[in-house]
């Protein structure tokens, strides 16, 4: 392709620089935020405790039936840190979930996601692959 004018040359140059910067951004972000950097999380299992807020997760233990829920409200991602009358309540906008993670009242309408986990061989810890 023949470059005809200085303006076209500049435009092409800017486009190239923008494309290169975007590629750079993509690579930098990819390298830094890539999966597998984190170690699996272990939470001490307290069989008596019905609700345990463990940072990013909520452990629910109902009659020895354990569920691990993501602690992040599906409305806007606030961390849920409170239970009231067998309900999980988001501090930011008041979305309410039951202990199965199902929405009881909004604004959230998606259920809390259930997190896959394993119980350690000795039965004392919950292991979560982050």
């Amino acid at each position: 392709m023949k470059i005809k004018t200085r303006r076209t040359f500049l435009k092409a140059g800017v486009a190239l620089i923008a494309a290169f910067t975007s590629y750079l951004w993509h690579r930098v972000t990819l390298e830094t935020s890539g999966a597998g950097r984190r170690k699996p999380l272990q939470i001490l299992l307290k069989q008596q405790q019905t609700v345990l807020f463990a940072d990013d997760f909520i452990l629910i233990n109902q009659n020895n039936n354990i569920t691990v829920l993501s602690a992040f409200c599906t409305h806007l991602g606030c961390r849920i840190d409170k239970s009231e009358n067998d309900r999980l309540v988001c501090p930011c906008h008041g979305s309410v979930y039951n202990f199965s993670g199902e929405v009881v009242s909004g604004p959230a309408y998606k259920n809390l996601s259930k997190v896959p986990f394993k119980i350690s061989p000795d039965g004392t810890k919950i292991e979560i692959e982050k």
């Binding site: 019905t50 409170k82 239970s83 009358n85 501090p91």
Partner: protein, 907 residues
């Protein structure tokens, strides 16, 4: 007009616009920011902010100045845009410049917002999550963009870099390009410094205490927070930012109709947004719930961010004390700098673990005593403020959310029954609440004479819980003063106390005593004390008498067998009974869960393996008994609650006393209780109560001149209800029938409301005649004896049958047996029954007979059956073989009876 012209002229001078002030503010932001970067620690942002607040007046001022100059920079920048739109017919920028300016506005908000995040407090952490979620939901590039903006979720480093470099540099370039100047005019700088300095001295930059459950974004985003609270898919709200940027771009670069519509749209949006911001700031509280000003907890829940103290120029402690004070909840707490050597706490409540602020409130970031103590609770734990102290999210929110449903907090039965006897309620079983009392005759009666004992009655002074204590919220049961703390309490007035009372599970009988030594008097009954009508001056000088509260004289009676064995109130009663279980109950017997037969059981009890018990009993068991994992705990039959001090081991039930840790074997009930058919539907307490306190009538009248007291508001008043009592007696209780859905049970009862009420004395209404009631009340006497009462004490007792004191005689004349009753007391003119009776001899009553709708006296047939056995007992000893046989086949024995056995005739 002149003013307008003057303003129009300003744009040509290039000076005196909001823009030049914004430039001045920008420089203040930069300078204060550079200074602030020195004490700020990006690895522990919240801790470093708390240290800044406590360290030095100049550091505090620098932080405040950075905050206020940045807020003013934002406001002035927005006003500058408005200024351009308002005073120019068209801005007419080139598209490139207009585009960069629009992006610049976005960057200003991002710079502000990242500054907000760098506090690292509860507000900031939730705001960060919201921003991350919103950005991540942008299609295609969302995740990458969110990560590029916020970085690793455990680190604030990237946010810090963007705040101090990326966004600041961008804003500086845009400003320089836009205004073609770098330095603001000196006069604007001086004025700006002055304003910022004044603001920085008067108000401190906000920081969340990490306990208050209300979380809000920065003030310029609470309107946005209000919008996203409406949206189930809040990512669409990002379009709003996009639209505003487009409108800004058009308003700056286009002309004609498009420019006009863009400007008007921006103006319209601004007005709406200001309205939403006001809502977010002043009407939204915890969990973004609507709260009106004046509602309970409004200031704490809604206005927490405005509790900003002015800067104190006189720090009252040295910096070495600050350095040595512990880090609590991720921050330094100013309280602990002065109160460093306070001790006496239970392990869970040590200041090193929870600080002072989490119970006492106040200002944990203050640098002076006055500021630190502002909004503080000298006596925390009162129910009105329990959610702000004991019940904060990290502590006991489950309990404070349910305690107000319990009877000790509502007094439902007391209120409902009182209204019932005043003929204001048609049922004694209505659910009521002490906080809903109005001004009726019954409610005033309650306020004058009864309702001091609700848990919500605040404790207002320091000091231990004693006989005179009423209410006090959590402290009513959990406050304990050590000897040292008591001594200090006496010796030091108004000075720094080092001995702190403990808040613990050591709930002793003395905690219950103040309230429960009244009415049914279960506390005094349990310890074997019966109230007399002696005055303090009349009290005989003898060890069998005891003075309570300085004016009530009690005499020694038989104590409860559980008391004799060292059991205290809490050895039977568990946390869900005492602190409510979230359900409103009408009466004590409804809320009461533990029954004798939960522990005294024949065969296998109901148990639960220790590892499956709930969180609360597990926590209590762990605190009380350390190791408990191998236990099989008993579970109550009624409501399935765990009894953490009772377990099943080697085919036996054992109990350990909660405070004194004494292990006790719990025996099964006697065979007479479980084997025979005759007494299958009799409550344990009907036989095993050795006595119960009773009274013989009282009169109630209102005296308009009596100096009275309102127990609800704790204020003196003129005019009060007065109760004129008869006499008190201690005797075996009367028996009655409780009918629950057709299941009848014989229970102990005592005169509950045998009284007259001069209602007219209160209302002044001629048609309000004197009310008379003869209501008995079910009672749990708490005077258990190991041996049950004798057969005759029921079958041959006029008191047990409900006739009152007197001579109950079986007379046989000419082979004809009849029961005769000669009352001790005269007949009451209102119903012609003996003063102390529940029913007439071989009669019964219906209608208003008891303080419950399901408790009745024996009907005539039941009385006849009782008295028929009584007739046998006049000749046969109760331990005789024939009487033992009668327990299972009484009818057969009657058929086979000896001719000498004369059964009663009833005509």
């Amino acid at each position: 007009m002149g003013q307008k012209l003057k303003l129009k002229n300003r744009k040509y001078t290039g000076r005196l616009t909001f823009g030049t002030y914004a430039l001045a503010m920008f420089w203040l932001v930069v300078v204060s920011g550079i200074l602030l970067a020195i004490p700020f620690d990006v690895n522990s942002p919240y801790l470093s902010v708390s240290v800044m607040n406590l360290t030095d007046i100049w550091i505090i001022l620098t932080r405040n100045a950075h905050f206020f100059s940045s807020q003013l920079f934002l406001v002035l920048s927005l006003l500058h845009i408005y200024e351009h739109f308002h005073y120019k017919d068209k801005v007419g920028l080139k598209p490139g410049m207009a585009f960069r300016l629009s992006i610049g506005v976005l960057i200003i908000f991002l710079a502000m917002f990242t500054g907000f995040l760098l506090k690292g407090d509860a507000d900031a952490r939730q705001a960060r999550l919201i921003l991350q979620t919103l950005v991540e939901r942008i299609p295609l590039i969302g995740s990458a963009l969110a990560f590029s903006l916020l970085g690793d979720s455990d680190s604030f480093m990237l946010i810090y870099v963007h705040h101090i470099a990326t966004f600041t540099v961008f804003i500086a370039i845009i400003m320089a390009e836009h205004s073609r100047r770098v330095w603001p005019p000196s006069m604007e700088v001086i004025q700006s410094v002055f304003v910022v300095l004044i603001l920085s001295i008067l108000f401190s930059a906000p920081v969340h205490d990490n306990l208050n459950p209300t979380v809000k974004g920065p003030w310029y985003f609470v309107g946005f927070q209000e919008i996203i609270h409406w949206l189930a898919d809040p990512e669409w709200s990002l379009l709003l930012f996009f639209i505003i940027l487009i409108l800004l771009f058009w308003a700056n670069s286009k002309q004609g109709k498009l420019m006009f519509i863009s400007k008007r749209s921006l103006l319209f949006f601004t007005v709406i947004y200001i309205f939403l911001t006001i809502i977010g700031l002043f009407f939204r509280g915890e969990q973004w719930e609507w709260k009106w000003p004046g509602e309970a907890g409004y200031c704490y829940s809604v206005l927490a961010n405005f509790r900003s103290s002015s800067v104190s120029f006189f720090s009252e402690y040295d910096r070495s004390a600050l350095a040595n004070s512990p880090v609590v909840g991720g921050r330094k707490e100013s309280c602990l700098v002065c109160h460093a050597e306070t001790h006496g706490f239970s392990d869970s409540h040590r200041p090193e673990a929870i600080g002072c602020f989490s119970c006492h409130g106040g200002n944990p970031f203050a640098a002076s005593k006055k500021q630190a103590h502002r909004h503080m609770f000298l006596v925390p734990g009162n129910l009105a403020s329990a959610t702000q102290s004991c019940g904060t999210t990290q502590c006991h929110p489950d309990i404070t959310s349910r305690i107000s449903t319990g009877l000790m907090a509502t007094l439902s039965g007391m209120i409902s029954v009182d209204r019932y006897v005043f003929n204001e309620n048609v049922t004694p079983d209505a659910l009521t609440n002490v906080h809903d009392l109005k001004n009726s005759a019954a409610d005033e009666h309650l306020k004058n004479l009864c309702v001091r004992c609700h848990l919500g009655n605040p404790k207002t002074e320091t000091g231990p819980i004693d006989e005179a204590s009423r209410g006090g919220g959590c402290l009513a049961c959990h406050l304990n003063y050590s000897e040292a703390a008591l001594d200090e309490q006496e010796l030091i007035k108004g000075d720094l106390h080092k001995q702190h009372p403990s808040i613990s599970l050591q709930v002793g009988n003395s905690h219950c005593f103040g309230c429960h030594s009244r009415s049914g008097r279960i506390s005094t009954n349990y310890e074997g004390w019966h109230e007399t009508v002696f005055s303090a001056a009349e009290m005989p000088d003898s060890a069998v008498y005891r003075l309570v509260e300085g004016n009530r004289v009690f005499v020694k009676k038989q104590a409860d067998v559980h008391h004799q064995l060292g059991l205290e109130c809490i050895d039977c009663h568990h946390s869900f009974e005492l602190m409510g279980d979230g359900t409103f109950y009408a009466h004590e017997e409804d809320q009461e869960d533990v029954q004798c037969t939960d522990c005294h059981i024949e065969g296998l009890p109901k148990t639960i393996d220790a590892k499956y018990i709930g969180n609360e009993p597990a926590l209590i068991a762990a605190l009380r008994f350390n190791k408990f994992s191998d236990k099989k705990f008993l579970v109550t039959q009624k409501q399935n609650h765990v009894l953490v001090n009772c377990w099943f081991e080697n085919d036996s039930v054992y109990l350990i006393t909660k405070n004194s840790k004494q292990k006790r074997f719990v025996g099964p009930p006697a065979s007479v209780c479980t084997k025979d058919k005759a007494h299958a539907n009799i409550a344990c307490s009907a036989c095993h109560s050795s006595w119960a306190p009773t009274c013989i009538g009282c009169h109630n009248a209102f005296d308009h001149n009596e100096p009275g007291y309102n127990m609800l508001s704790n204020t003196a008043q003129k005019g009060a209800w007065i109760e004129y009592i008869g006499t008190y007696e201690a005797k075996l209780p009367t028996l009655g029938i409780r009918d629950i859905a057709g299941e009848k049970e014989v229970i102990p009862v005592t005169p509950g409301m045998v009284l007259t009420i001069d209602k007219k004395s209160f209302t002044g209404m001629a048609h309000d005649s004197t009310i008379f009631h003869r209501l008995y009340a079910p009672i749990a006497p708490h005077t258990t004896s190991a041996k049950g009462r004798s057969c005759k004490s029921c079958h041959n007792s006029s008191v047990a049958l409900g006739y009152g004191e007197g001579e109950l005689k079986y007379e046989i004349v000419d082979n004809r047996g009849t029961w005769q009753f000669y009352s001790l007391y005269l007949e009451n003119i209102n119903d012609n029954l003996p003063e102390d009776a529940w029913i007439g001899f071989l009669e019964t009553r219906k209608g208003k007979v008891s303080t419950r709708s399901n408790v009745f006296p024996f009907d005539i047939e039941q009385q006849k059956r009782m008295l028929t056995v009584g007739a046998c007992l006049t000749c046969h000893d109760e331990d005789s073989e024939v009487m033992k046989k009668s327990l299972n086949n009484f009818k057969d024995l009657l058929v086979e009876r000896n001719v000498k056995c004369i059964l009663p005739t009833w005509e």
